[in-house]
Subunit: 529 residues, 2 copies
């Protein structure tokens, strides 16, 4: 009976939420759409001395994550216009004096699965008037500040920032705990300021994992102190990241609530490793996959993961494992001999390699993400701590979760951003839980990720190839299923508004009309393109 009551209550709450949305969802310009929203029709003016108040919260903010987040809030809401209004003629009762933030958890370690929920309320009256933001963690509070920033509007007459549609009551939390974006710094080097700009915009859309595909066959830009010749595989002396640079990326992201998932893609996609250590190549004529027969190969992987563990504190490490063409092993004499000695065929050797790399990662406390080929070939052998990263197409997640493993969805036909012909509605409509109805299995789909592969992406075009399409995926991953548009045409205006907001914040998000990173076809308003 208790359960039934609870269900009725939940249903009641659900219907209430639906009712709220029935009224509001089409005219609210918030992206991604929160779990539940109610609002009014009044206006408050943001005080000149708009302040962060933290009275009553035990969270000490020793590392100033909240303070910096608040400071960024002020920056973004004032980025597009000069705010120099005369406040003397405003009555106190219509001035929003600040935001009162209460955070319950003292712990500000960012990690997979932390509570990212928040509640934001902005009353229409009070003396003085404060917005109120409550969150379990500082990272939930940062999400709340992002939402707050989207409620702010510049008034050209008063030259003051206004909060429209008060009172607001927003209750919000993510649908999926893993909401990722991949960047690829091997095909093209991305300078630090570019990566930081991507992180900034990820925070605007509440994405929370930067999957850093650091190295690949084309170049090895990262310093690995244990094996310092690895970055001989960099394109040039300046297209490199020192370990301190990588640590800076991690710290910059973490302070914005974003985890960094580091990847080494083995045993394929690793040709550049051999520039510094040629013995990692089976031979000069066979430069990949990495030499499975050489103990040194695993020593190097161990060294890399040891170095990784010092700065990449995310629970997961990505070990790749995709597109491994092992034919080269079989025709390289010493590898062939080793295969024979160990009675392994090529395919078994691939499995041996992946599982051994997994063990090394586990020994450093990581759980593992592998591309789906590992699951497709020997799924039952993978560590149970593996998350399978789907990319080849649809239908994989179903099989992965049926096998009891966790899954991240990045099916290339919809969520590869380098596929320029994939338009934002296709990105938006890609549902990670397609055909997965069992709630236990649904839980195993921990989220998804859009992938910005770097073959044709450098510092000149990364922003507009990512945005606004990644924002479409971000809403799919954040908002409750029932709040998602069933027809993307319903939300074109809201996404257009968000992309214009990105432009107003200095982010080079492309027009919506057309394929990825299209230039505007004709003169016109940002909101119509």
């Amino acid at each position: 009976m208790v359960k039934l009551v609870a269900q009725s209550l939940l249903l009641g709450l659900y219907l209430q939420v639906l009712a709220v949305f029935a009224v509001d969802v089409h005219r609210l310009n918030i992206w991604p759409m929160p779990q539940s929203v109610s609002n009014g029709h009044q206006i408050l003016h943001m005080s000149k001395d708009f302040e962060l108040m933290t009275q009553g919260t035990k969270y000490p903010d020793a590392s100033e994550i909240l303070k910096d987040g608040f400071s960024r809030l002020l920056d973004v809401v004032q980025a597009a216009h000069v705010v120099d209004g005369n406040f003397s003629h405003f009555d106190q009762s219509v001035l929003l004096q600040g935001i009162h933030v209460v955070i319950f958890s003292l712990n500000d370690e960012l990690q997979y699965g932390i509570d990212e929920s928040y509640k934001l309320s902005i009353p229409a009256a009070g003396n003085p008037v404060y917005a109120h933001l409550e969150a379990q963690t500082v990272y939930g509070a940062l999400h709340g500040l992002q939402t707050f920033s989207q409620l702010c509007h510049f008034n050209f007459t008063t030259t003051v920032i206004e909060v429209h549609q008060v009172p607001w009551n927003i209750i919000d939390q993510p649908r999926f705990s893993y909401r990722g974006l991949l960047i690829d710094t091997s095909r093209h080097y991305q300078p630090l300021p570019m990566i930081k700009k991507v992180i900034d915009s990820m925070a605007y859309t509440k994405l929370n994992v930067l999957h850093w595909h650091i190295v690949d066959s084309q170049s090895f830009p990262l310093e690995i102190p244990s094996y310092p010749k690895l970055w001989f595989g960099a394109y040039s002396i300046s297209e490199r990241y020192a370990m301190a640079d990588a640590a800076e990326i991690v710290s910059y992201a973490q302070r914005r609530g974003i985890n960094v998932l580091a990847e080494i893609d083995v045993p394929g996609h690793a040709l550049s490793w051999g520039t510094g250590y040629p013995s990692l190549w089976p031979s000069k004529d066979c430069q990949q996959p990495l030499d499975v027969s050489n103990e040194f190969t695993f020593k190097v992987i161990d060294g890399i993961l040891s170095d990784f563990s010092k700065i990449f504190k995310f629970k997961f490490v990505h070990l790749g494992g995709d597109e491994v063409d092992t034919s080269c092993w079989a025709i390289t004499p010493h590898v062939k001999k080793w295969l024979q000695k160990h009675a392994l065929n090529e395919s078994e050797a691939y499995q041996y390699f992946v599982l051994r790399a997994q063990k090394i990662a586990l020994s450093y406390g990581y759980e593992i993400i592998n591309w789906e080929e590992t699951f497709n070939n020997f799924g039952d052998k993978l560590s149970r701590k593996t998350v399978v990263h789907n990319w080849l197409g649809g239908g994989v997640a179903e099989r992965v979760v049926a096998a009891g493993l966790r899954c991240i969805v990045s099916n290339q036909d919809k969520w590869y951003l380098d596929h320029l012909d994939t338009t934002w509605p296709e990105v938006y409509m890609n549902e990670p839980l397609t055909n997965i109805t069992n709630p236990k299995q649904q839980e195993l789909v921990i989220g998804g990720e859009v992938c910005m592969w770097g073959e044709q992406i450098d510092g000149s075009d990364i922003e507009q190839t990512i945005w606004p399409r990644a924002a479409a995926a971000a809403e799919r991953l954040w908002s409750p299923y029932d709040n998602l548009a069933k027809d993307p045409r319903q939300i074109t205006g809201r996404l257009a508004h968000f992309r214009c907001l990105l432009n107003q914040r200095g982010v080079a998000a492309a027009p919506l009309a057309g394929p990825g990173r299209v230039a505007p076809q004709d003169p016109g308003s940002c909101y119509m393109q």
Copy 2:
């Protein structure tokens, strides 16, 4: 005799400069190339406490233009990597402690024709070692700091910034006093952060005029307090600039040594004016050119220029005057009547309009820039304070300066950046003084400008459409003719280096290989694309 001696001295100096370049020019990565450079082969390390020293200078820097410029210098040289080296093991004698800046003029008013020269020397030894920068004006000093920033390199081993190739002796000044870039905020609105980013990069290339084509037929985004309905012609309520926003652009640019040239393009290209004031249209069916027969038209122009004069302090205002199709006037009854009354044909009425607008501008203390059609149609009638802005093609500057007027070169076949098929070598090779040999006439070509027309340019693609091609023009306009490459292939590497530097500073400059704003075709190093 005195003259001959002076000429010999000059010739000697000239040969000496050539000699210096014969050694260095192909391996120096400075953009644009300075007038004269000599350097050595030693290395200094930039001290952790690298400081701005201004001892002995009378310039008070009350507005902190120099101080902010120095602070930006530190930011850009540290943007790409974490500088956290251990300085304790460096000897004092190899540490560069700071830069000693001496500025002779107390006046920091930015204006057309100010002295932008500087001398920068960095000794190889000293105790302590300081770079030395001398300039007549603070704006010359800012150029010197830009040059200095390009001599800095990050050392991945020490994680310290180094200055290579010391000792340096650089003497520099611009070839042309007007080095412009046009942006167009009528075809697409550009948010403030986008315009600021463009200004930042202009400073990197020593461009000094932002030609702001604010309004046109498609939209009227700017607030005009005298005629507040004009910005009813904006695309939307948020795609507007308050006067304070425009003042912020001017101030932001000025503090970086960049003048803002405001334009109203009359009598054509002004359809949007009528949204708020329909009587500016000859009729509903004839919405441009502006109604020449209506006194109100000139009142509005007067109001705009009066408001302009309060914030746009540049010596020049641009009055457009191009592409005027007057056929509509002749078929609008009341205009036709007015033409008859004043015994003007359409073409004479066009002239009447332009000259009357010129008089209004002159009354506010402006000198005038007009597009070349005004010169082509009635050049001898134009105010002698007119600068003719060439755009239709080559050969115009010759005729303008032969007529004794000043000229700015923007021939569309080479210097229109929206022509994506114009590659950087074509931009680079466009010589403003082509066929102008008389030194007096050469002086009348005050410079040139690359034009980033906005039909297909919004916040998503402005940076990579401008850069690196605008940088090619910037060198043409800055460096002495004899230092310019006669074959652009000689400088591909240096420009590639500069575009990679832009990327490292967060500017989305496009690859060199291919047409404008091309995406990289394949994986590879920034320096090779």
